[in-house]
Amino acid sequence: MKNSIWQSLVVGALMAVAGYAALFIAPDEKTMHVIQRIFYFHAPAGMVALLAFTIVFIANIAYLINRQPRWDWLAVSGAEVGIAFNSVVLITGPIWAKPAWGVWWAWDARLTSTLVLWLLYISFLLLRDLMADPDRRAVFSAVYGIFLFLDVPLVYFSIRIWRTQHPQPVILGGQNSGLDPTMRKVFWFCWLAMTGVMAILIHQRYKLEQARHEFEELRLRAEQLSAEEPGISPPAGAMRT
C-alpha cells in the first residue's frame, strides 16, 4: 500500500513536470503554435499503447506455456490500459486535426492504424466478457490475443501502403523528422512519464484481478465446505463481483 502511494506520487510528479514542459518549456512551433503541443501527449500515448499490447502478447504466450493465472491477469490488465492510451490517441488526433486541416478525421495512415488497433483489442475484451469459465477464457483469449498481435504489423504496413497510393493531406507524424532538440527532450520526457502511468495502471488492474480471483476461490471453497459439512455455511450476503 505504501509502495503504491510512493509510486503514484513519483509518477504524478513526472506527469506534472511533463505537462509543464509540454506547455511552457517546449518552443513554440511555427505553423500551429499552441495546438501543436498536443503532440507531446498524442504521439507518446500511441507508443505506450503499443507497449501495453506487447505486454499482452508476452503474457498470452507465457500463459499458454505454463498456465499460471497471473499471466492471464497481466494480459487483461495490459489490454485495458492499452485501450485507454489508444483512446487518448484517437481523441487527441481529431482535436489536433480540426484546427490544422479543417477536418476531424482524414484517414491518414497512423491514425487509421490506431483505430484498427483499438477495434482489435476491444474485440479481445469483448471475447473475454462473453466467456464465463475462467480457465477456458484464459486459454482462448490467449490464443486470440496472439493472432491479434501478429496482425498488428500487417495492419500498419498495409494501411501505410494503402495511404501512399491514395494522395491525401500532410501526415501527422511528419513532425518527427527534424525535431528541434528541446522538442525532442520534452517528447521523450513525456513518453517516460506516460510509461510510468501505464506501469502503475497495469499494476493496479493486475492486483484487482488477483483479488477477484482469490475472492472467487474463497467463495467456492466455502460453498464446497458447507456442502460437505452441514452446519457450516458461507457468510450471509456474500458479495458477487
Binding site: D135, E216, R219, R221, Q224, E228
Partner: protein, 239 residues
C-alpha cells in the same frame, strides 16, 4: 500405425490425477491401477468425478496434476494411446445429419480401420441396425442411437473400453444385446472401465467395483472379483 492384434491385454494406471475446473476440484489426487482384462465398475453419486475420470482416461481432458498411463503396450504418443481406447460417452458422439453407415464409415476411416465397408456392415448387423443403415441418424429412436453409439466405440476394435452410463436409453432388447457384447469383449481380454448406476445388469459382469465420492476413491473391492465385495462397493462401505 501398428494394427491391433486382437490379443493385447492393456491396463490403465492413474497416478495422482487432479483436475480442477476453476475453484471446483473434480478429481483429487486419484491413484488407481486397472489390470489388463479387468472389468471395473465405477460407482458413486452424481458429481463424484466419474465422468471426469473417464475423460481423463480418454485423453480428452488434461489433468492439472498427475497423469494416466497405459500398461502392457508401449503407447508413447497420444495417438497410439487413443487408437487402443474406445469410449461411449454421455452424448452419442454421432452426426445426426449423416446416415448410420456414413457415421461408421467416417469413424472407421479416422481410426485407420482396414476394410471399412465390411467392418461397418458387420457392426450394423450386430447392433440390429442393418435395415436402417442408410437412414439419417436424426430419424433414429433413442435406443437405436445408443446402439449405434456403442458400435461406434467399437469400430476400431479397442482393447480398452471406457463407458459412461452406456445402458442409458437402451430398450430391453438392446440391453440384452449390450450385455452379450460386453461379455464377449471381456472373454476376449478387453479391459473395461464402466461408470454405472446401481441396478445395471452391466454390474453382473464386473470383476471389481471402485466407488468415487467428491473426487476421491472411497472404496475399492480389489481385483478379487468377490461378488459380496462388489455389492459392498455398491453400498459405499468404506474399506
Amino acid at each position: 500405425m501398428t494394427p491391433l492384434t486382437g490379443s493385447e491385454r492393456l491396463g490403465l494406471v492413474f497416478e495422482q490425477v487432479e483436475k480442477r475446473y476453476g475453484a471446483l476440484t473434480a478429481l483429487r489426487r486419484v491413484s488407481l491401477e486397472i489390470q489388463p482384462g479387468e472389468f471395473v465398475a465405477l460407482l458413486g453419486p452424481n458429481g463424484a468425478g466419474k465422468t471426469t475420470l473417464l475423460r481423463v482416461a480418454a485423453l480428452l481432458v488434461r489433468p492439472n496434476a498427475g497423469r494416466v498411463k497405459m500398461t502392457g503396450s508401449p503407447a508413447d504418443s497420444p495417438e497410439l494411446f487413443k487408437s487402443r481406447v474406445g469410449m461411449v460417452a454421455h452424448s452419442t458422439l454421432l452426426y445426426d445429419e449423416l446416415t448410420a453407415e456414413e457415421n461408421l464409415h467416417f469413424f472407421a476411416r479416422l481410426y485407420g480401420v482396414a476394410n471399412v465397408a465390411s467392418r461397418t456392415a458387420h457392426l450394423l448387423a450386430a447392433a440390429g441396425l442393418a435395415e436402417r443403415a442408410s437412414s439419417l441418424v436424426r430419424t433414429f429412436s433413442r435406443g437405436m442411437r445408443q446402439r449405434l453409439a456403442i458400435v461406434r466405440a467399437l469400430v476400431h476394435s479397442p482393447r480398452i473400453l471406457l463407458l459412461d452410463e452406456p445402458s442409458s436409453g437402451l430398450d430391453p432388447q438392446g440391453r440384452v444385446w449390450f450385455a452379450e457384447t460386453l461379455a464377449a469383449l471381456q472373454r476376449d481380454g478387453c479391459t473395461i472401465l464402466a461408470s454405472t448406476h446401481a441396478r445395471d445388469e452391466v454390474l453382473r459382469l464386473a470383476t471389481r467395483a471402485v466407488r468415487l465420492e467428491a473426487g476421491r476413491v472411497v472404496s475399492d473391492s480389489g481385483s478379487g472379483g468377490n461378488l459380496e465385495l462388489i455389492l459392498a462397493g455398491l453400498q459405499g462401505t468404506v474399506q
